[in-house]
Symmetry: C2
Subunit: 111 residues, 2 copies
Amino acid sequence: MATPLPGRPVRGSRTGRPIMVLLDLLGRRWVLRILWELRDGPLKFRVLQERCEDMSPSVLSQRLKELVEARILAADAEGAYAFTEAGDRLRRLLRPLREWADEWARRVSSP
Amino acid sequence: MATPLPGRPVRGSRTGRPIMVLLDLLGRRWVLRILWELRDGPLKFRVLQERCEDMSPSVLSQRLKELVEARILAADAEGAYAFTEAGDRLRRLLRPLREWADEWARRVSSP
DNA sequence: TGCTTTTGCTACGGTTTCCGTAGCAATTAA
DNA sequence: TTAATTGCTACGGAAACCGTAGCAAAAGCA
């Protein structure tokens, strides 16, 4: 399937509006998790795979291609996957999700 | 499939750690888009469906059930879907994604 | 140098999820 | 009181995802 890129019509967005394209991209299986696992620094393929509960290499490979094509990730000198400058700003936006999730867990389990 | 809830082992998380559960939930198809479309206020089923490019009602129905069970959304007095208090805090975390996406579009299209 | 292990994937077939269409009971509008 | 509209559910086909196997290239070891 085609990588969602701004301006390009994709699943769930005929117009290619950037936010819609982003939501499509982030909503693909494992994408958020991959970004999450890279939060503390670059990881290589097999390490990243095991951090993601040994996800299927075919899907990991595909997701990484998409994220690289979207300029959110890039392979560094050692071949590890790392955030680009733009990707890093996205990472910072995602960071507060952990606190939210912890609070959510408290509320949902003890109503 | 089972709704991801904190503490419950789900796809991509044996442990049920809240952040992992959240990433699984948000990574399901259309979830981010649904939350996005509800950003300016509650919407009823069919309106929400058409805002989401006429997504399949079967999937919309399932996603709404999951989001309600997860206490992120709730049906209001008129039967429209609205954020809960926790859901609203999540909405605020998602809001800056639009600016990010716009900047991303500028960079990706004019490198 | 040759041998073994590890790495970064790709291929492939089975399973799960998603999708579109049809339709129906309940509510609202005319 | 009939006609729309609404909020779904059912169901079969399409697409995405999954696990396993395996392979070429690089790295480690002797």
